[in-house]
């Protein structure tokens, strides 16, 4: 309670890892750490589900439901009757989040 960020959608399959360490390079929160034979999932709760690790893993050892953690966009999507999970996700041309339109949210300014 009072911490909605303990669990994430991140899944790691160490048996697939080839130890290329790309995930340790792209993760901004040190979720992965270098290990002997494969990288270690060091801080899973720090994952912000940006999806960089999974996208840059050449052997699909990482899975995550990536998206932007922006309440403004998600609530806006729900109010417009759209899907909260896909409205602000990567690649959506109609996404309001981070949009270039002046009237859109200020969200993502820090990202």
């Amino acid at each position: 309670m009072l911490n909605s960020y303990k669990e994430t959608s991140l899944k790691y399959y160490p048996e697939r890892c080839i130890n290329c360490k790309r995930c340790t390079q792209v993760c901004p929160h040190a979720v992965f750490a270098e290990g002997k034979d494969h990288v270690d999932l060091a801080q899973p709760a720090s994952c912000m589900e940006c999806g960089a690790c999974a996208l840059n893993c050449p052997v699909q050892a990482i899975e995550v439901q990536s998206g932007v953690g922006c309440a403004w966009a998600m609530i806006g999507a729900a109010l417009r009757g759209k899907d909260m999970d896909t409205e602000c996700s990567c690649g959506g041309d109609d996404s309001s989040c981070c949009g270039a339109k002046e009237e859109t949210s200020s969200c993502c300014e820090g990202k």
């Binding site: 009072l2 911490n3 909605s4 960020y5 669990e7 994430t8 959608s9 790309r22 340790t24 390079q25 792209v26 993760c27 901004p28 929160h29 040190a30 720090s46 994952c47 912000m48 589900e49 940006c50 999806g51 960089a52 996208l55 840059n56 050449p58 439901q65 990536s66 998206g67 932007v68 953690g69 922006c70 309440a71 403004w72 966009a73 998600m74 609530i75 729900a78 909260m84 999970d85 602000c88 996700s89 990567c90 690649g91 959506g92 996404s95 989040c97 981070c98 949009g99 270039a100 339109k101 002046e102 859109t104 949210s105 200020s106 969200c107 993502c108 300014e109 820090g110 990202k111």
Partner: protein, 356 residues
């Protein structure tokens, strides 16, 4: 503020892979396709950054996508990728002061690297396309492009390699670390980490405040005439606390959830107003209690909502976590604010009808 005229012009020399040295001049643009930039940050650039931070004409803070030469790059010079958002591009070019380099600016629709990566505009497809459109493979002799680490959510390096033959090297999070990074092409753990210090939180507050300014003004004026100056001040205080004070105090407020942090801050902000409304000697006791309850219900709910919306500005909130927060707390916020508004309206009607 369009920077086509301030930071870029077309290169006067045609690139040649063997002997390429740009040596182009800003005052002699031609249509060869390579644009020119430098590392200086002018007053116009700083004004543009200031306006961007205040949310002024948000979509206009962009530069022309394409390949830029910085200094006198050769075919062996490094290539850096950036977004066509002025703050991103200016951070990169200023960090590369004194260097000769190529900068490949992707068309991210005027959005910064990290947001554009999340949206997909700073992505594999655009990077591969931009490499092809600019003829980068004929400009440089190597096949490596340094991409900001925060571009990684949009880039798949195996796909870029497969489609363009260019190897993506992820540079540090912050452009200012590039000079140190380029000595060994190895990032320290600190260079790889995203932080969210006070300065970065405060720099977001103007645009947050501006976005609510009009609504706040209307509510303040309405409350001034209907409920008096203290109620109007309460509205201003709630908006200021939610958009400025909350970001500033973010790590110091107890609990992890933004909504509960906002409720705590809101309660503190509401207390003096509750005391003011609850100790009016000219009103009966029940009206004092109702007045105090109005402040204690509405102000924390409003600030908690602002706090929840700040998740999109942070550098660490996950989508699944934010979604949980929405379902956990928004109904409570709605109930609190709704109850407070009903009580407030009832008090107002009581005064207008002479009950009080």
């Amino acid at each position: 503020m369009d920077k086509k005229d301030t930071t870029g012009s077309s290169c006067s020399c045609m690139p040649h892979p063997e002997t390429l040295s740009c040596g182009c001049r800003k005052d002699n643009p031609t249509a060869s396709g390579i644009l020119v930039t430098d590392s200086s940050i002018t007053f116009a650039n700083r004004l543009d950054h200031f306006l961007a931070r205040w949310g002024w004409k948000r979509e206009s803070h962009r530069i022309e996508p394409g390949l830029y030469c910085l200094g006198n790059p050769t075919a062996d010079s490094p290539v850096f990728a950036s977004a066509n958002y002025t703050l991103s591009f200016d951070a990169l070019r200023s960090a590369l002061a004194g260097m000769d380099a190529w900068i490949l600016v992707l068309d991210t629709k005027g959005i910064n690297v990290w947001c554009a990566a999340g949206k997909g505009t700073f992505g594999t497809e655009e990077l591969v396309r931009r490499i092809a459109v600019t003829g980068l493979a004929t400009v440089v002799s190597h096949r490596k492009i340094i991409v900001p680490q925060l571009g990684a959510p949009g880039i798949s390096w195996p796909e870029v390699m497969r489609k363009s033959k260019f190897l993506v090297e992820y540079g540090p999070v912050r452009a200012k670390d590039l000079p140190e990074y380029l000595k060994t092409h190895t990032a320290t753990p600190a260079m790889r980490r995203v932080e969210f210090p006070l300065k970065e939180r405060l720099v977001l507050t103007p645009v947050e405040f501006v976005h609510t300014a009009l609504s706040m003004f209307v509510v303040t004026v309405v409350l001034w005439f209907l409920a008096g100056s203290v109620a109007a001040l309460a509205a201003i205080s709630a908006v200021f606390a939610g958009t400025v004070l909350f970001p500033a105090l973010l790590p110091y407020i107890p609990t992890q959830d933004f909504s509960t942090k906002g409720l705590i801050l809101g309660l503190i902000i509401a207390l003096p107003f509750a005391a003011a409304f609850g100790t009016n000697p000219s009103l009966p006791g029940w009206a004092d209690v109702a007045g105090a309850a109005t402040a204690l219900l509405i102000i924390p709910a409003v600030i908690a909502y602002f706090a929840l919306n700040f998740t999109g500005c942070t550098t660490f909130t996950s989508r699944s976590g934010v979604k949980k927060e929405i379902f956990r707390y928004v109904p409570a916020m709605t109930l609190m604010a709704g109850t407070g508004i009903v009580i407030g309206i009832a008090l107002g009607i009581s005064q207008l009808t002479g009950v009080l």
